[in-house]
Symmetry: C2
Subunit: 357 residues, 2 copies
């Protein structure tokens, strides 16, 4: 059965300003690897899914940028353009129907565009296991990350005994917990971080849509004949604005039965804010991470990110500081305040510096 990767890449993302911009959001910027994050995502599954079978769901503006940077092997007709954003369920059914039209049925791996994977070999092994399980069992398969600390920033998945030692049964999804609760999650061992990676057969997920989101299914089925034809854009433009705005998590995953979850440990990081670079890059003796070039004296626990190279970053005695340089902006941020980078973006909007956004 054909294997396809569907990358959801419509997000805006201001948390990595000044590197990420409205015009070039996180997945289209180079943050943790040698290439832009979406290409790193494709590289991750090179050993499992052919690059040619990559599908990307994105918006009109980003489709143009994606076209410019993405690997040549990715067929440009696989860039599915959403005319308006309707959350993730429409995005998934659009991709699933496209795969049905092209392949009849297929194994479909839904993957976030902008996560970091440290251990590619293990990731390949887990992804193969997930695809294999989805193919053999006709179940929805998710990948859960074994938590390494009591994160209050991630959603959790509770699992229990399932198909095998490695393939657990998904009991329920759990919202981002308070710190004390997160601590018990880590201790109990049956809670995993929700990685946002879902693997299923196209035929299986479409059955779920038919059952759980019947209106959306009917609306999309009505234009099925137009997909992969020159009528597709018009049909999508017509139907998309009336699709229900609902996430696949809420609309399908939380209601689906018999979902499997594979606990995994492959150096996953969702790279959610500047401090995440600490967990992705090696640190120096002062516990600093430097990406690009910087000269440091007595600095500790800090992050230096130079995406530009025309001005040397130097620092003396900096502690818990994030310093970022791009071609037109410098950010100096206390590490405890990285979640507020978006506030700076808002502030720059207010003071009329849209040129920097």
């Amino acid at each position: 059965m054909q294997k396809a990767a569907v990358i959801m890449a419509g997000g805006g993302g201001t948390r990595f300003w000044p590197v990420s911009r409205m015009a070039s959001p996180k997945q289209l910027t180079k943050l943790t690897g040698d290439d832009v994050m979406i290409n790193e995502t494709i590289k991750h599954y090179d050993g499992v899914i052919p690059r040619e079978n990559t599908f990307i769901v994105t918006n009109e503006k980003q489709a143009i940028l994606t076209d410019k940077v993405i690997f040549d092997e990715v067929d440009r007709s696989h860039i599915l353009v959403e005319p308006v954003q309707r959350n993730t369920a429409p995005c998934i059914i659009y991709a699933a129907m496209t795969l049905k039209k092209m392949y009849g049925d297929a194994l479909m791996a839904v993957l976030p565009a902008d996560h970091h994977i440290g251990n590619i070999k293990e990731y390949e092994r887990i992804l193969n296991l997930a695809l294999d399980t989805a193919e053999k069992t006709d179940r929805i398969v998710t990948i859960g990350i074994k938590p390494t600390f009591p994160s209050t920033g991630y959603g959790y998945i509770k699992v229990s005994d399932g198909l095998s030692d490695e393939v657990k049964a998904l009991d329920r999804f759990v919202e981002k917990p308070a710190y004390e609760i997160a601590k018990t999650y880590v201790e109990e061992g049956c809670y995993l971080w929700n990685s946002g990676m879902f693997i299923w057969k196209v035929s299986v997920i479409l059955e779920y849509f038919k059952k759980l989101l019947p209106d959306m299914y009917a609306q999309m089925e009505a234009i099925f004949d137009d997909l992969r034809t020159d009528k597709e854009a018009d049909a999508i433009a017509r139907v998309y604005p009336v699709l229900e705005k609902i996430s696949v998590d809420y609309g399908i995953m939380e209601k689906a039965e018999g979902v499997y979850c594979i606990p995994a440990d492959f150096g996953w990081n969702d790279v959610g804010s500047w401090d995440a670079l600490e967990n992705v890059f090696p640190k120096d003796e002062g516990n600093n991470v430097t990406v690009g070039k910087a000269e440091l004296l007595d600095c500790t626990n800090s992050v230096f990110f130079d995406s530009c190279g025309d001005k040397l970053i130097t620092a003396i005695g900096a502690d818990n500081i994030v310093v970022v340089e791009t071609k037109d902006a410098i950010l100096v941020c206390d590490k405890s305040r990285v979640q507020d980078v978006k506030k700076m973006v808002d502030h720059l909007k207010e003071v009329g510096r849209e040129d920097l956004l």
Copy 2:
């Protein structure tokens, strides 16, 4: 009697890196005013000494740079070039002999090239008083700054009753004190900061040289006829390397008798390191100083200095941080570490980044 300002401007200065450079030291950079510091120094005495009567003693390399930036009114033949650095006494006698050659006698104010004056009106008043006192009494006159805090970074002058309420007798020079001693100095009221500003008649200071540094006086007197002729450069090149390396403070001031000192309070700051900008520029509600442009969120007690303008400095939650941007470098420095900027300069030398020095 002619009044002349002699500006000693040979210093290197790495404390304001990356703004000050080997090629453009502090006095030739724009730090606290609208113009480079040496021109600000000239502007300070505009109401007292004509710009035309400005004399600058500097080295060969900086003479070229000074020529480029200094006010047009300053006669370029007034830039006295030292072929080698022999500390401040040779510098002073060279200027004094030059003035003797040109004017017979003159009132000479020796002024540092790179200090900030907040209250120009009061500075003019004090400078006039000093010149007047020097003219009428044939004494050496110094200006002492009323201390505003127990500085351990300045030398002090102890004064007692002298000519008048405003013109005190200089008892002795005091080395940089320990903090506890500095505190008593501030309380006692008879200790002043040594501003490095000296005012005297040319004839008076030359008498002191003749008496206290007789060799140096004889060596310079031997080439007196060559000064202000086309033989001057050769004569200076011959005699300068054999002049004693000694400061005017140690060689003359500490031994001179009957020196007057005028206590002053005109918003003086020697602008010794990046944190000094806090005492020169107005602060925002977060106690930050911004020179140039920066956008700040929740920053406190920090200094932002953009000498360049091509990249916007932004900061979130920065506390006690100095951020400096120039065309080729960015410095992020904990404010308690501004004295170590020269260590960064040394470090950059070590790692082969002389291009940034």
